[in-house]
């Protein structure tokens, strides 16, 4: 027991790398309690620098993930998104092992995996789906196994696996926020530039091709963009919960509206709502932030599905009345 305590103390300067829930509490300080006074609670939230950087990083990541995620959900590429996320885990664990920043591991692994996915020629729709998903499943399992091995080889922190898989908003540095911002601005600029042709190629590839839209090149570019968004989201949500920011806001937005512009804006707004509320509640809680981010995302999705169900029932009733009149 004392040996373990010694080990933790010896590696304390590296705590920012992988931290578990509750680790932000100064020694002896009482844990923060969410009180009735919202103003003072908010004040307390912004009093700690680590919380401000966490919210800043969360904001940047939420915008990027919600925008790229909206296109991903439209293109039915969630499976590719999940694969990229799982491959990010050994990337991050491996980076820690060799002493590189975790972000380098996430981005390196996710973008490399995106390039591999993009390079593998896709067969005609339907014909090779089964084989493709079997290969991807095998790669996912191996990636998780390799990640666990790397964490164990590093053997510094037992809760490091937790943070890498399920997220941690602690220990995000200022330089990380700036790096995330730069990446997000670049990725969003590319997404805007691809804009309409990407939508055309996603919705209606045959006609898009006939109109001279480079459908294949766009699909390659988008998978790489997806890799970047997944890597950025992983830094907040961990590898396994990226869908909290990548899928849930986008899927909720597509439940509610079929207008592309409005859908994108709504997806980003919902992503920000989920991120801010998730991080704020996690600060006052002893439970991990990944749980709150994902639960709030799921709640948003359920509400959106409910709204859609109600409005469809109403329009059916109106149509029935119209026929009856």
């Amino acid at each position: 027991m004392s040996a373990l305590a010694h080990l933790v103390a010896a590696t304390a300067p590296a705590r920012h790398a992988v931290l578990g829930p509750g680790a932000h509490l100064p020694h002896g300080a009482p844990p923060p309690v969410l009180g009735a006074n919202l103003v003072s609670d908010l004040h307390e939230l912004f009093a700690y620098h680590f919380m401000v950087t966490a919210l800043a990083a969360g904001t940047v990541v939420a915008v990027l993930a919600a925008a790229v995620g909206w296109v991903m959900v439209l293109r039915r590429q969630s499976f590719a998104g999940h694969t990229l996320a799982v491959v990010g885990f050994p990337g991050a664990a491996g980076a820690t092992l060799v002493g590189l920043p975790i972000a380098v591991g996430y981005f390196g692994a996710c973008v490399a995996a995106a390039l591999v996915i993009a390079a593998v020629p896709r067969g005609r729709a339907g014909s090779s789906r089964g084989a493709e998903s079997a290969v991807t499943g095998a790669v996912q399992a191996f990636a998780l196994a390799a990640g666990v091995l790397f964490v164990n080889l590093y053997n510094g922190f037992l809760n490091g696996v937790d943070a890498l898989l399920f997220g941690s908003f602690l220990g995000i540095t200022d330089s990380q926020v700036w790096a995330l911002t730069a990446v997000a601005v670049g990725a969003l600029a590319l997404l805007v530039l691809l804009g309409r042709p990407l939508l055309f190629a996603s919705v209606d590839p045959d006609v898009a091709r006939a109109r001279g839209v480079p459908v294949r090149a766009l699909s390659l570019a988008f998978v790489v963009l997806l890799g970047v968004a997944v890597a950025a989201a992983s830094e907040i949500t961990g590898s396994l919960l990226v869908f909290a920011l990548l899928v849930m806001p986008a899927a909720a937005a597509q439940q509610v509206t079929a207008r592309p512009g409005l859908g994108l804006v709504l997806s980003v707004a919902l992503g920000l709502l989920v991120t801010w509320s998730g991080l704020a509640v996690a600060y006052f809680s002893i439970y991990p932030s990944g749980f709150y981010l994902t639960s709030f995302g799921f709640a948003v999705y359920l509400v959106a599905a409910g709204v859609r169900g109600v409005s469809e029932a109403r329009s059916r009733r109106v149509a029935a009345l119209g026929r009856g009149a």
């Binding site: 006609v207 079929a258 207008r259």
Partner: protein, 274 residues
């Protein structure tokens, strides 16, 4: 509009058809007929420059095919949209107008606002023209086959093409919808002076509107007015086997004894005929 001279095309190493001479003039309604696998869709793709010719030449709007032009509308063979696709029919039509342009519409600037207004007006016009206004704001995945087909025709028309290529637009529609979409296409051809080249499996829904038919069979092509081409003599010569064309009491043409072409993809089926 479209001129083909001594054209030939191949698929999977097998010549589909050769020696095709064809001219389509402005405002003409031409049907491309023939058995499955005869190369009807290939003829359209060659005309659009999406597939190469193995011999001869093809000119579209006075230019070699493939120098893709906005004045050409194309509706590929039946695509159905994923039932969950959350994009409005109106947006799919709009993509036909500016979906190939990089970037996103930017209505904050004055010029962008004007262009946006013009685009919306034009999309509204074609949506009205095909009679889809009632459901153009619903997600396209939730619409019926006939409704989707009308919106796709609107998409092909939105850039005011001079010639429209339609690949089996009536396929998988029920009979009332077939008749309605056929008369819609005929009306567009007559009223807007757009030349229409339409691949069809069954000539009857469009028989009344057609100027000419192109019949592909046995690697050869016969072209002319419907009542010249769809006769026992012409088709028997084309297929090199006795074919009988029967006219029913309501004016429909029925082709009896039409053999299907061998499977184009070959290989797996060997010499077996479908």
């Amino acid at each position: 509009m479209l001129v083909m001279r001594g054209a030939a095309a191949a698929a999977g190493g097998r010549t589909l058809w050769s020696g095709v001479d064809l001219e389509v003039g402005a405002g003409e309604f031409v049907a491309v007929l023939g058995p499955n696998g005869a190369g009807k869709s290939t003829l359209v793709k060659v005309a659009l420059g999406l597939l190469p010719l193995t011999a001869g030449s093809v000119e579209l709007l006075g230019r070699p095919a493939g120098s893709s032009s906005r004045r050409v509308g194309y509706l590929p063979q039946r695509r159905s949209f994923d039932p969950g696709l959350a994009v409005r029919g109106r947006d799919v039509v709009r993509l036909g107008l500016d979906g190939h342009r990089w970037g996103v519409p930017f209505p904050l600037l004055l010029a962008g606002r004007r262009r946006e207004r013009e685009a919306r007006t034009r999309v509204g016009e074609v949506v009205d023209l095909v009679g889809a206004s009632a459901y153009a704001d619903r997600p396209i995945g939730s619409l019926s086959g006939g409704e989707q087909q009308r919106l796709l025709i609107a998409q092909a028309l939105v850039e005011r093409p001079e010639i429209l290529f339609l690949d089996e637009p009536l396929d998988s529609l029920d009979l009332p919808n077939q008749a309605a979409v056929a008369s819609l296409i005929g009306g567009i051809c007559r009223d807007s002076g757009v030349a229409v080249v339409m691949v069809a499996h069954d000539v009857n829904p469009i028989l009344g509107q057609l100027d000419r038919v192109v019949y592909i069979a046995g690697g050869r092509v016969a072209a002319g007015s419907p009542h010249e081409v769809i006769t026992s003599e012409t088709l028997s010569a084309l297929f090199s086997t006795p074919i009988e064309v029967v006219t029913t009491s309501d004016g429909r043409l029925v082709v009896v004894g039409e053999p299907e072409a061998p499977e184009v993809h070959g290989g797996r089926h060997g010499h077996e005929h479908r």
